[in-house]
């Protein structure tokens, strides 16, 4: 009986691991700050966690609310803030990548229609493995000066 229980437990545990591997990326703190209505670009910040044992690579992101979505990295270069498009974003096993002000961010290019606070947006992430994950969020009025302060303190 005891043996059977532990056997069943083992099966249960392994199936959890499989399940976790299937939905290996989790998205937290998804933030899409409202921008001026004339803005041709918006931005999305979030924490992306890879809870699997394998590295995951985001190859492409798309959204029905935007013409194009790109991953960008902001860095200081020659005294200027420079943005660089990234072809992919690799997330190591059991690691979290933070997309936040002053660093990595998802650039949302050319809204199909102007978006304001409360409007829903969807983002579909295509991984190198072919896996697709869709998340939804909404545009919010965000105090960027606050998140920046946090960013500054934590790093």
């Amino acid at each position: 009986m005891k043996k059977l229980t532990s056997y069943l437990l083992l099966i249960a545990l392994s199936s959890i691991t499989i399940a976790a591997d299937k939905h290996s990326l989790s998205f937290k703190k998804i933030t899409v700050p409202e921008a001026p209505p004339v803005a041709a670009v918006m931005v999305a910040y979030m924490d992306i966690t890879n809870s699997s044992n394998k590295a995951k690579t985001i190859k492409q992101i798309s959204s029905p609310q935007f013409k194009r979505v790109e991953i960008h990295n902001m860095s200081m270069s020659d005294g200027m803030m420079k943005m660089e498009q990234m072809q992919s974003l690799k997330i190591k096993p059991r690691a979290t990548v933070k997309l936040e002000t002053g660093g990595l961010h998802i650039m949302l290019i050319k809204p199909v229609k102007p978006l304001k606070h409360g409007d829903k947006i969807e983002l579909t992430f295509k991984l190198a493995s072919g896996e697709l994950t869709t998340i939804s969020s909404s545009v919010q009025k965000v105090d960027l000066t606050d998140s920046h302060k946090h960013h500054h303190h934590h790093h």
Partner: protein, 218 residues
């Protein structure tokens, strides 16, 4: 008795006069000391220029297509940020910082002598009408400015602001790399201070009040 006291009084008079005079001189001198060389503010996060840097004239246009030249920077304290509206990360943050500085309760009484200016270094895409809607989203009092490249450069070079256009991608979009500083200009049209990232509204307000006090007492 009365003669004695009278005699004493008369001999004391010059002493009193001298004492009062030196007191007056001392007071005057200390006043001069307190007022004249205003102490240079310390512990600023901002970079205060050792010497005010007078600016030479330039000719840009504001979001209502009026001329925006050096005269427009006079009689006001001006905060200037240089960016472009296709900027997803740095510029919205800087605009929010300017908005918080503008809205700070410490500056309520100074607003009529204060102006917040967003200079677009990307005149091909940032036309005045668009700039107006962009800046007014943050605050209706904010001023959007742009112009022809060589006039923008006359201003940016004097202020130490750098910018450069990246190569357009396959969609024809391009990014503009640019400095992230906010520049403070005094009411005589002199560059006075530089606020560098990370920009925090609280420290900008605090430093601005000290710099203003210092400049007004020189």
């Amino acid at each position: 008795m009365s003669t004695d006291s009278n005699k004493n009084k008369s001999s004391l008079t010059p002493i009193i006069v001298v004492a009062l005079l030196s007191l007056a001189v001392g007071l005057w001198a200390s006043q001069q000391l307190l007022q004249k060389p205003a102490p240079v503010p310390k512990n600023l996060e901002a970079t205060l220029l050792d010497k005010a840097k007078p600016l030479t004239d330039f000719s840009l246009i504001d979001h209502d297509k009026n001329v925006f030249d050096l005269k427009r920077l006079k009689n006001n304290w001006s905060f200037l940020f240089f960016g472009f509206t296709h900027c997803p990360d740095v510029c919205p943050l800087a605009m929010q910082v300017m908005k918080k500085v503008w809205d700070s309760p410490e500056l309520t009484n100074n607003k009529k002598n204060l102006q917040m200016i967003f200079v677009s270094v990307d005149p091909d895409r940032d036309k005045p009408e668009l700039l107006k809607r962009y800046t007014q989203y943050y605050n209706p009092a904010f001023i959007g400015v742009t112009g022809v490249a060589n006039q923008i450069d006359i201003l940016t070079r004097q202020l130490g602001i750098l910018y450069g256009f990246d190569d357009p991608n396959e969609n024809g979009d391009y990014n503009v790399s640019h400095s992230g500083q906010i520049i403070l200009i005094d009411p005589q049209g002199n560059m006075r201070a530089v606020f560098s990232p990370p920009l925090t509204p609280q420290s900008i307000v605090k430093d601005f009040i000290e710099i203003k006090k210092f400049v007004e007492n020189i």
